[in-house]
């Protein structure tokens, strides 16, 4: 292979700022924007978490850690946290498995594969609110297209939105469907960049297609899978909001809380419907801890497990 001659050590490549002022000056615009829109609000939230406050009344009463302990002891909040966890595990694992399968099939050299790819990617263009409305219409128990089909074929009309198990499953499936396109785009791109020679070598050595996929392709795809696992976790935690708000309003009520009420929806309810700003801020603080933990895990796992090709 032809190697490019290493460039001479010119001044440009080794340029170093002389003082410390210059780099800070260049960083200043970004830091200012971050400070105004991210850091200050975050600090305000942490402060507010220590108060019983009402957005409308403007009242604030210092309570220290009471908001946080009340949340952690509340059966309703614990149930919401558990539901969020189950929702996250299901949507991330099933979602990635499906997207990888579909991307693998769509990357095969078949006629019309371009159109399959296009059709697989388009749901990404829908906003979560529109996706929620679509699902709401489809699963209306009396006039929705799904129950009309099921009614005429099998004479059953499932109660999609008020049966706790069905409603939860419906939200999981809707979230997986909504996230599919995003994952497929990344998987398709990575599959197309897999080194062909390694795969061919495996085939020549007599590996079955399943073996080629699981033993060669899948390990080579770990960097992108790793990236997608974490983006999907974050989106399961935060982007589920519009979908559940429109599709189920967090219901039906089961045990101690609405079964499709997830952490971020609970936060919205308390902060902007019930106007309990202090309690909502405490929930935001707890979610911040959760995200910090996930980020920490991302780096920790990333170092050990991920196989960066080459």
């Amino acid at each position: 292979m032809l190697k490019p001659a290493s460039p001479p050590a010119n001044t440009e490549a080794n340029a170093v700022f002389k003082g410390t002022a210059m780099p800070w000056l260049f960083l200043l615009p970004s830091l200012l924007i971050l400070a105004v829109f991210i850091y200050l609000p975050a600090l305000q939230t942490l402060r507010l978490a220590a108060y019983k406050a009402n957005l409308i009344l403007g009242t604030e009463r210092f309570v220290g850690l009471q908001n946080v302990t009340e949340l952690l002891l509340s059966p309703a909040y614990r149930q919401v946290a558990l539901q969020t966890l189950i929702f996250m595990v299901l949507t991330v694992s099933l979602g990635l498995l499906f997207s990888l399968g579909l991307a693998w099939l769509a990357s095969r050299p078949v006629r019309g594969s371009k159109y399959y790819r296009l059709l697989l990617i388009y749901p990404y263009a829908l906003s979560p609110a529109i996706a929620g409305t679509l699902w709401l219409f489809m699963f209306n128990p009396e006039i929705g297209v799904v129950n009309q089909l099921l009614g005429s074929l099998f004479n059953v009309k499932p109660r999609w939105l008020d049966d706790p198990i069905l409603a939860f499953s419906l939200v999981v499936v809707a979230a997986i469907w909504k996230g599919l396109a995003y994952n497929i785009v990344f998987y398709l791109a990575s599959i197309q960049n897999l080194p062909g020679d390694v795969m061919q070598a495996a085939e020549i050595d007599g590996a079955t297609p399943a073996q080629v996929f699981w033993r060669v392709a899948f390990p080579l795809l770990t960097p992108i899978t790793f990236f997608l696992v974490f983006t999907n976790i974050i989106s399961a935690l935060f982007d589920s909001f519009a979908l559940t708000d429109i599709l189920t309003r967090g219901g039906p009520y089961f045990h101690n809380a609405g079964i499709t009420t997830f952490l971020v929806y609970q936060l919205y309810q308390d902060g902007f419907v019930n106007f309990k700003s202090g309690v909502a801020a405490a929930q935001a603080a707890l979610m911040l801890v959760l995200v910090a933990f996930i980020t920490f895990m991302q780096f920790k796992v990333g170092e050990k497990r991920v196989h960066y090709g080459g």
Partner: protein, 432 residues
């Protein structure tokens, strides 16, 4: 640069004079649709033309919750809109926020023309806090064709729970391929049914003689309502979308002829008439069916009213009130009613509509009118006042849904009362 400075220097005094001469009155409302939002804009244009000193600027600010938070946060920044449209469930919050002034304190207004139950809702501690604007109550909608098909007399819609159950039995026996009854699960209906039975929803006279500290969800009136739904569900007479507060979904089930009877707000008369026409069936509207063995006490007037900000100059407040009174005058309230189905809130508007023969042209509206004008003024029909309104409503809805999913009436109500009373206590703790 120098040119711009010069330009500004020249323009400055002129612009200043213009600003001096004209008082701007911002009006925030919740009607994002061209039909209702356009009507408001037209009234503002007329008013501005007739009063060159005042410029009313209406703006759509999102739903009820968005609007009340936007108003109050901008008031804290010293930029309150002069007029805000606040939903009835947010009245106590608006009052407690301290950023509004009672309209009766701005100047003398003759409130005698307003329909009693409507003005009662917004009269707190002897003061009229806000001007009634869009007002509605629940009524029964029925599909006359399906009633005939099931062998029922469409001239005699049910007026009581037992009457409705009896009709449901006949509808089921007739096997017409439609469920008897469907409506959305919304706490607003429960509050109305309690008022009909003369039962306050909250203690302390519905939160009017003092802050409400407990709900009356353990009352017989509440049990009557929930038991009715238990019976409906046990007999499979009832259907809904499964989502709480799903007004649109329930309307769709009714206009697609999947249910014979439906209950929703009078403000939906326009939409549901259109839907019935499209589907090709004849629509009827009847009084809200109530539990048996109770006198009909009347309904709570839901909807919204116009609040005027406190920290604004006197001239601006007066301009705001003038516009609010103009927009809700006799003629305009009659035209608003025809357009939307909301009640005209003035006696004189009803007289005007009667004179025009409107009720013979639009007989569906008459039932709604009588239901409103026959309401007996009392703390029960004055409506519940609490700063935890949206939260208690949701708790009631969740209990209602639990009954539909098989929980016993007593267990569901007991849990709901515990949760709702805790919500009231938490809100009241803001004032300690």
């Amino acid at each position: 640069m120098r040119k711009i400075t010069l330009l500004l220097a020249l323009m400055g005094p002129a612009a200043f004079q213009l600003a001096q001469a004209q008082t701007t009155v911002e009006f925030w409302h919740t009607f994002g649709d061209p039909k209702r939002g356009g009507w408001i804009q037209d009234r503002a244009d007329e008013f501005n033309k007739a009063n060159p000193g005042i410029k009313v600027v209406p703006a759509y600010k999102g739903n009820d919750n968005d609007l009340i938070s936007a108003t109050i946060l901008s008031a804290r920044q010293g930029n309150a809109p002069a007029i805000s449209q606040i939903f009835e469930g947010g009245s106590q919050l608006a009052l407690d926020s301290g950023v509004f002034q009672p309209v009766s304190g701005i100047k003398n207004v003759d409130f005698s023309d307003y329909i009693k139950p409507v003005i009662n809702f917004y009269t707190i501690g002897g003061k009229v806090n806000s001007l009634p604007f869009n007002s509605s109550s629940p009524v029964l909608y029925y599909n006359k064709d399906l009633m005939k098909k099931a062998g029922l007399d469409p001239k005699k819609p049910p007026t009581t729970f037992n009457g409705l159950l009896a009709d449901c039995k006949k509808i089921e026996a007739a096997k017409i391929g439609a469920t008897c009854f469907g409506m959305s699960v919304n706490g607003w209906f429960v509050e109305n049914w309690m008022a009909e039975q003369g039962q306050t929803f909250l203690n302390n006279d519905n939160g009017r003689s003092g802050r409400a500290t407990a709900t009356n969800l353990d009352s017989k009136a509440a049990r009557n309502i929930f038991s009715f739904f238990k019976t409906l569900q046990d007999n499979k007479y009832y259907s809904y979308t499964g989502k709480i507060e799903d007004f649109d979904g329930s309307d769709a089930i009714f206009t697609n002829q999947k249910v014979v009877f439906h209950i929703t707000s009078t403000s939906k008369i326009g939409n549901n008439s259109d839907g019935a026409k499209r589907a090709g069936f004849e629509l009827g509207v009847g009084v809200l069916p109530i539990p048996n063995g109770t006198k009909r006490n009347g309904v709570v007037l839901g909807g919204a009213s116009l609040w005027i900000a406190k920290a604004i100059p006197k001239a601006k407040a007066e301009g705001a009130l003038d516009f609010a009174l103009y927009m809700t005058n006799t003629k305009n309230m009659a035209s608003w009613h025809k357009l939307t189905g909301y009640y005209p809130v003035r006696e004189s508007s009803i007289k005007l509509l009667r004179g025009e023969g409107w009720f013979t042209k639009a007989p569906l509206q008459l039932v709604a009118f009588n239901q409103q004008t026959n309401t007996v003024p009392s703390p029960a029909t004055a409506g519940a006042l609490t700063g935890a309104g949206p939260q208690t409503r949701k708790i009631v809805e969740e209990a209602w849904q639990k009954v539909l999913n098989g929980t016993s009436v007593d267990a569901a109500l007991k849990e709901a009362k515990t949760r709702a009373d805790a919500a009231l206590a938490e809100y009241n703790a803001n004032f300690k």
